[in-house]
């Protein structure tokens, strides 16, 4: 049943996007860590996400199990092909995850946890970017190539840094929303720089992709396609300008829309993601495996259907509630448990 498989393709896309958005900003906090002062400021950064990081990371597990449940062939192919970058990402996530628990309970070992958090976040983000890049470039077929470092190419390194920059942008905008005074000022400044870097990275990655990937080029430029797709890059630029304006308002001393830049940054990610899907659809592993071919039998897809339809909206609802409980500036929370 093609429609059911397509539904799960959408669910997978949703899971990946939610992960990128939510863990994006909290990995980004780790990436921005070195730019903030040792104690007070880093405490603030950590506390701004310590109640949500766990829920955010769950979307990564959800993405993994949706792939496993609905498209087992793609799950098996992707995870075993990208063995090393995935393992490296997991090691990094372990370090940053435990840093949340131990940092606040430590005295002498605090610098180590700061390092584990920051390096772990940066490496995890970089690995995710590299995975993205190598999937776009195409996964080599056959098992012989497994011993090579095919996932380590100039393009994948570029996408690795691009994702890091994007996550850091999300984090800067999140901090802009969650803090006051010096930290907010600093976040606005970093946000503006990261906005420039992210847009630049998006442009380079897009041009490089279109130049090197024949299929993607054809998809974008054959017939009137480009006309239909041109809103994607145009809206991207408009949103970037709006985000810049809000972040810049801080310098003029008139901060009105502290939450807005975060949503602009999220929109940038959504647009970039849409551009990617346009280029790759309907492949899960480019030029090898479409989502229809990789789909589980109907009995499995149907069994999972009520679960997804009931629980995904429910999860979104209580996740939102959780964020609302801790709404407002971090300074206003009382100390934890």
């Amino acid at each position: 049943m093609m429609d059911l498989a397509f539904f799960y393709f959408l669910v997978l896309g949703f899971a990946i996007f939610m992960y990128v958005l939510l863990d994006g900003f909290d990995l980004g906090i780790g990436i921005l860590y070195p730019w903030f002062d040792q104690d007070g400021e880093r405490d603030h950064l950590m506390r701004s996400i310590s109640h949500v990081w766990d829920g955010n990371e769950t979307w990564l597990v959800f993405g993994g199990v949706v792939l496993f449940a609905a498209f087992p062939a793609a799950y098996a192919g992707i995870t075993s092909t990208f063995y090393l970058p995935i393992m490296l990402m997991l090691f990094a996530l372990i370090f940053r995850g435990v840093a949340f628990e131990y940092r606040f309970k430590s005295d002498t070992s605090r610098p180590y946890w700061d390092f584990a958090f920051s390096a772990g976040s940066a490496i995890a983000a970089f690995c995710q970017g590299m995975l993205l890049g190598s999937i776009v470039q195409g996964v080599p077929a056959g098992v012989d190539s497994l011993s090579s470092l095919h996932w380590l190419t100039p393009f994948s390194i570029l996408t690795g840094f691009a994702v890091m920059a994007g996550y850091a942008l999300l984090a800067a905008c999140y901090l802009f929303m969650k803090s006051r005074g010096r930290i907010q000022e600093h976040a606005a400044k970093l946000g503006k720089q990261l906005l420039l870097i992210t847009i630049l990275a998006m442009v380079i990655v897009s041009v490089w992709t279109v130049a090197s990937q024949v299929e993607i080029r054809q998809r974008w430029f054959s017939g009137f396609n480009f006309l239909w797709l041109s809103p994607l890059p145009i809206i991207t630029l408009v949103v970037a300008l709006l985000a810049w304006k809000d972040l810049n308002s801080h310098a003029n001393g008139t901060v009105h829309h502290e939450g807005r830049p975060f949503w602009y940054a999220a929109t940038l990610f959504l647009l970039g993601f849409a551009g990617l899907v346009v280029g790759l659809f309907p492949y899960l592993i480019p030029r090898q495996l479409t989502f229809m071919e990789a789909a589980s039998p109907d009995s499995s897809l149907l069994f999972l259907l009520p679960g997804v339809c009931i629980f995904v909206p429910l999860i979104c609802t209580y996740t939102l509630w959780g964020y609302r409980v801790f709404a407002g500036k971090v300074e206003d929370y009382q100390e934890g448990y």
Binding site: V61, F68, P72, V98, E101, S296, F303, F311, Q334
Partner: protein, 481 residues
């Protein structure tokens, strides 16, 4: 050196899953205890319950965190190291795991933030609701994981098409023959593990003469729990054994060290060194016929032995045999401690008997060891099959270069050794620091906008503490609304 990627992947999985299981086996039970204490506090207003909940939530948080980070590894290892396995069983196991994430994992993570950090952000009823949700989340999580594991042990409800599993009946998959036994046995094990962790630390405080009223309350409650839970667990374990005998006779034979293809008058072996070369036991010491009685509930009952299947279809007998004995031995020890506690309680010496308190302290980590041993029985006993009698473990490994798996295995050993050290270090630190004092609780209650009676009670206890009195008699009556 010639390295076998299959062996390395299996060692890696065994190592990472063993590390992981330590933490959920504590948190499932501890979440339950914390919810009980918080509920008791809301009902009785006795601040010692709040103190218990407030103290144990910290070890719970770091244990939970360790469980999360090590669990994420497992959800990807199926694919990275056993790609063939995930391809052929994906249609069955994938949806089960997806349901786990949808119904449990998100829920735990979503409400954990409020449970840990929300004391002053939400009302006390909503906070209790969050704690309950986290607790229920840990149970549901255990349910789906056990369902998936049990299906690999006693597969049902499937058909095989083009070498891949497809589901014919999801009811049969979920309620496969061994699932109910496995689930109750594991949830019980987790409750008992947490009970003995709390009891052990409480006994340690009593030995050190620190936090006395707090420790008395903790020890007393946990010994009552143990008195109920440990015999119940023995009974469930016995039923589980009968189920194994019916569905996985080879595993049972390995657990009991039975070699003949069929043996009557089976002895219960107290000691033996199963020898896979000679297909017999060395140095065997046993009680005649007791094995038959336990396994078949009849004096002469016959049991299928290891030689009923060819050697290549047998698991590693000594490992299964000894893991089983470690698990049962610890269980019997725990039952003994619970009985001893009852005896001492009647004599009024539960909190004074040094030998007893030392014994309980010694048993702090025993639940975890028993859980690990139990899982070795289950998992090693299933070998050489990954899906019992259907798919061999040797057939499903990813075609990876061996050095690559060796590299990640080494990394896991280094990182996890470091982490367990850090975990124990911080646990020790939390335990040394002890529970929040009544003064600290008072401050927190003010932050929580607690009702007047709760504050008044804590205040009275605070003054008592400052006057050097340690007895546990609230001057303000409960229910003083």
């Amino acid at each position: 050196m010639d390295l076998d990627v299959a062996i390395l992947s299996r060692i890696q999985f065994a190592f990472t899953v063993s590390f992981h299981i330590i933490f959920p086996s504590i948190t499932i039970g501890l979440a339950t205890l914390i919810a009980i204490w918080e509920g008791m506090w809301l009902k009785t207003h006795n601040p010692y319950y709040l103190q218990l909940a407030k103290f144990w939530i910290k070890p719970f948080a770091i244990t939970f965190g360790m469980g999360v980070v090590s669990g994420i590894v497992l959800s990807y290892e199926f694919g990275t190291n056993f790609s063939k396995f995930s391809e052929i069983t994906g249609a069955v196991l994938g949806p089960l795991m997806a349901y786990e994430v949808l119904t449990a994992f998100f829920m735990e993570a979503g409400f954990l933030g409020v449970m840990l950090f929300g004391w002053q952000r939400v009302g006390r009823k909503l906070h209790f609701f969050s704690t309950l949700t986290v607790m229920i989340g840990t149970w549901i999580s255990a349910f789906w994981i056990i369902v998936a594991n049990s299906w690999m042990q006693t597969p049902a409800g499937y058909k095989i098409i083009d070498g891949k599993f497809e589901v014919e009946s999801w009811m049969a998959v979920i309620f496969n023959p061994s699932m109910p036994y496995r689930l109750t046995h594991m949830v019980m094990a987790s409750l008992i593990t947490a009970t003995f962790v709390v009891a052990g630390i409480s006994a340690y405080y009593l030995l050190k003469k620190k936090n006395i009223p707090f420790a008395k309350k903790g020890l007393s409650m946990c010994m009552w729990f143990a008195l109920v839970l440990t015999p119940l667990q023995a009974w469930i374990g016995d039923m589980h054994g009968l189920n194994v005998r019916e569905h996985q006779p080879t595993k049972l034979a390995a657990m009991e060290g039975i070699w003949p293809a069929e043996e009557e008058n089976v002895p219960l072996l107290l000691f033996a060194m199963p020898n896979m070369e000679t297909e017999s036991n060395d140095y065997q010491v046993g009680i005649p016929n007791l094995g038959s009685l336990i396994l078949t509930h009849s004096w002469e009952g016959a049991v299928q032995g290891l030689k009923a299947v060819p050697p290549e279809d047998r698991p590693n007998v000594p490992l299964v045999f000894w893991s089983f004995r470690v698990m049962v031995g610890i269980g019997v020890g725990m039952m003994g401690i619970a009985a001893l506690a009852l005896l001492l309680r009647r004599k009024g010496r539960l909190y004074e008997n040094k030998a007893f308190l030392s014994l309980v302290t010694f048993f702090t980590p025993m639940g975890v060891i028993a859980v690990l041993a139990g899982w070795y029985v289950v998992e090693i006993g299933r070998q050489p099959w990954i899906v019992y009698n259907l798919v061999r473990t040797s057939e499903i490994v990813s075609p990876l270069p061996a050095e690559r798996v060796l590299f990640t295995l080494t990394m896991f050993v280094i990182i996890y050794s470091l982490l367990i050290g850090v975990y124990l270090y911080f646990m020790r630190k939390l335990i040394k620091k002890g529970p929040p004092s009544m003064e600290a609780l008072e401050q927190q209650l003010i932050g929580m906008k607690a009702p007047g009676y709760a504050l008044a009670w804590v205040k009275s206890l605070t003054t008592q503490e400052q006057n050097g009195q340690t007895h546990n008699n609230p001057t303000i009556k409960q229910g003083d609304k």
